[in-house]
Amino acid sequence: MSDKNIIIDIEHLSKSFGDHQVLKDISLYIRKGEFVTLLGPSGCGKTTLLRMIAGFLQPDEGTIMMEWDSKGGKTEFRDVAGIPPHQRPLNTVFQRYALFPHLDVYDNIAFGLKLQGVPKDEIDTRVRKVLKLVSMSDYEDRDVESLSGGQQQRVAIARAIVNRPKVLLLDEPLAALDLKMRQDMQIELKEMHQKLGITFIYVTHDQSEALTLSDTVVVMNEGKIQQIGTPIDIYNEPVNSFVADFIGESNILNGTMVHDRKVNFIGHDFECVDEGFGENNPVDVVIRPEDVYLGYELEGAQFSGTVKSCVFKGVHYEMYVETDSGNELQIQDYDAFEPGRTVQMLIHPDDIQVMKKERVENVIDCKVIDETHIEMFGEEFECAPISGNVESGIPAKARIQFSKVDLMDHEEEGNASGEVWFILYKGNHYHLTVKTESGEYVYVDTNDIWDKGDLVGIKILPEDITVETVDEQEK
């Protein structure tokens, strides 16, 4: 490894449980002394990744290289697959603390040191020192079950760091605490990190926690890394709509890149700072609610709208405004604006984040049955007549526009069935991700309001399914 600063290097890691793939080709590296957060919704694979680093799980594919102090005093890089947890130079802070109920606070913390054969007075010194660090000095002889959640958390942290690990792994350690406690602990954790100087790998689903604590954030979803960057990068320049939606509040809208530094959305052209998206190409645009300026009369206003609602949120007002083009924007401002009144708004070029669209239409793997029928999502669909080589059983791709997929209340009303998986509001419509019963994803634009988890029937008119056989594509 050329960069002497890297302490863990993960390459092409994959893991499946049964036929569910939890991690898909994950690669990242972690620098010494960093506070890295793995951030994502439940099920994204972040805890699985952490547990693999800790040694409680083995990868199916890929390597985890760690800096290793070998016996000669030399440092080398080693693939830790197959090395059990008790031999790895890391320690974990578990989500529900896992403090040993049959030992008191002192013995819990001393546990690892005793196993290493550290002499008694050294154990004493180190345990006391670490207790002081977590502000639990008077609690040595206490029974761990008598401690509050926050206190147990500190003991768990103390127990881990007293062993002077190279890397500290934290698995959603603050999840079980109430809000105030969590915020206080976040500050303490940050201070601890700065004081100790060891590498922290932190797992959480709370994006504000990740932004507060981290040097680097790794955003994950569905087993893949979505984006790696500093909190500021992730917040200001999300690379796709998932990250934009997951981090902070945002307005995500369909737009068209007119040319470099000019984008069109919500019915108007705006100057922006992004380049390289081509000309007249569809893009996604992200605007943070606090970045829209409004006023009853605003100098330099670019567009206008009507205030729909205004709610006091303590620090600011949260408003929903319907623009002159019929899009709904979420806006935050320190001033209140009356519902029903017309307001003028503007957005600075810096505050417009343009993102590549991950897709512009559905492209789905299917199998040809005959000239007008295909097998898709495990069911038979009638489609528009197929040109080219029509042989039963050959693979093909079906192209369907988002707005042409109909969702029905009852599964039997459609040709296939599925579950609403993810909902993205795009200002004037919803962009849904629907997971079919066959495990595939289809994307739908609709004005209907659905809930995550709703079971739906999927119906598509034949004329809206355009099928291309493989050789047609290669032309």
């Binding site: 040694g55 008790h86 974990t92 578990f94 040993f100 127990r159």
Partner: protein, 256 residues
């Protein structure tokens, strides 16, 4: 729901009548002679009766041996059954629990018959074997339950802190399974000390246990002495329960 606490009153009366009063009567009869006069002679008689004392000693000895063997054989069994990696079958667990539900006398008789058929002479060895056979499931079940419910993250935390698998067991799993062990000991030791019919069958009456002499005395209308012996057994039971924390006892066979 406040007035519903009154619903416990009938039961209180019932318990006093059918639980407290009978026990009081044991004490009363133990401290009386045949004419109703207060006396300690029944109790002292026990301490001077060498037969009774040796029976008592044998009973305690057998109970301790039985409990130890059940523990040594049963803990590994419970551990294996509770470990998802080593045992994936729920049926195996059921097979271990099943004997508990068959009449104990029947099981003991079956064992004794088997010894007969194979020509083993009935004596101390067969007694112990038969006892272990009878009581092993009662040791396995509470330990299995505790191990099953144990939070896996304790073992992971210990491993994370540097403990080898052997150390994880010795320093974390074993101490945390103590409640199950105590439950098991309670469910094995006490019945063994107080049993009477089982020892008759398994040793062809060669070895008598404490329960047997109680039964003999009661049956031959030596109620006072029988009560005194029962009182002594009660004291032993009481002491053992206090030592092992009787409140933790799980209801055997509760919900499977």
């Amino acid at each position: 729901m406040s007035k519903r606490s009154n619903w416990a009153i009938p039961y209180l009366i019932f318990l006093v009548l059918f639980v407290v009063l009978p026990l009081v009567l044991i004490v009363v009869y133990a401290l009386q002679d045949g004419n109703g006069n207060f006396t300690l002679s029944n109790v002292t008689r026990f301490f001077t009766d060498s037969d009774a004392l040796s029976t008592f000693a044998v009973s305690v000895e057998v109970a301790i041996e039985n409990t130890l063997i059940c523990l040594l054989l049963g803990y590994p069994a419970a551990y294996i059954l509770a470990d998802k990696n080593l045992n994936k079958s729920a049926v195996t667990v059921i097979l271990f629990i099943l004997p508990m539900w068959i009449n104990a006398l029947m099981r003991t008789l079956a064992t004794a018959e088997l010894f007969n058929v194979f020509g083993f002479t009935l004596g101390k060895g067969t007694l112990l074997f038969g006892m272990v056979y009878d009581y092993l499931p009662f040791m396995i079940y509470p330990i299995y339950n505790v191990l099953l419910k144990m939070d896996k993250s304790y073992a992971e935390a210990a491993s994370d802190l540097g403990a080898t698998p052997v150390q994880v067991f010795g320093k974390v799993t074993l101490p945390l399974s103590m409640p199950g062990i105590f439950s098991g000991i309670l469910m094995v030791f006490m019945p063994t000390v107080s049993t009477f019919a089982i020892s008759e069958f398994l040793t062809n009456n060669k070895i008598k246990l404490f329960g047997t002499i109680i039964q003999e005395n009661i049956n031959s209308s030596m109620w006072n002495y029988g009560a005194a012996l029962s009182l002594i057994m009660l004291v032993i039971i009481g002491l053992t329960t206090i030592l092992l924390g009787g409140d933790e006892r799980e209801v055997e066979g509760g919900t499977i």
